[in-house]
Symmetry: C2
Subunit: 114 residues, 2 copies
């Protein structure tokens, strides 16, 4: 019940950007928050999460600092860069267009296409 069966590829980056936009968080918490907010629909395995985070960091969309969590452990807190915020806005709009188009197609009836 991970991303593969429920979430198409390409959406993960968008969701990560959105969670980080809400405030600085470390990777582990991002996965937890996504799962919690989506009511378990979105479940991100660590093997998908960390490469995605590094990708976003390399592309300059995220920046990170090591800080201490409330539980006393060192963790890498990510925050959105200016570029990342622009990317988030672009991808959010893109997702809207896409979801609308796919919804349109999926609601086609047998008579509507001939």
């Amino acid at each position: 019940m991970n991303i593969k069966s429920d979430l198409p590829q390409g959406t993960l980056d968008l969701l990560i950007l959105k969670i980080v936009a809400l405030g600085p968080v470390h990777g582990y918490a991002i996965a937890q928050r996504l799962q919690q907010v989506s009511r378990d629909v979105v479940q991100v395995p660590q093997g998908s999460l960390y490469p995605a985070l590094h990708r976003l960091e390399n592309r300059g969309l995220l920046a990170a600092d090591w800080k201490e969590t409330e539980t006393g452990r060192e963790a890498k807190f990510y925050r959105l860069t200016r570029k990342g915020r622009a990317q988030l806005e672009a991808e959010t709009a893109s997702w809207g267009r896409l979801a609308e188009a796919v919804g349109l197609i999926l609601r086609l009836s047998e008579g509507g296409a001939e």
Copy 2:
């Protein structure tokens, strides 16, 4: 403005299944219909289309027969198998859950997550 920039991977199969479900069509017409119905949001290059069709055929979700088009050319008309119809229903439901979850996350406000 092709699939890569706007459509996450994995969604193409669903859209193809849906179009084929509306009635037997050949590959070239599937791409045209997707583009037309989505108002140009979805544009499927042939290098994506035909591999996808073969994939779906190999998985037993589509079946095909060679017939003549209205324009007099031979073309491979695809139709949905019983298995394909079940898959379409499952993926349609899956897409619905996903779109809802992503929408939920994207509508989170700064205050809503703390």
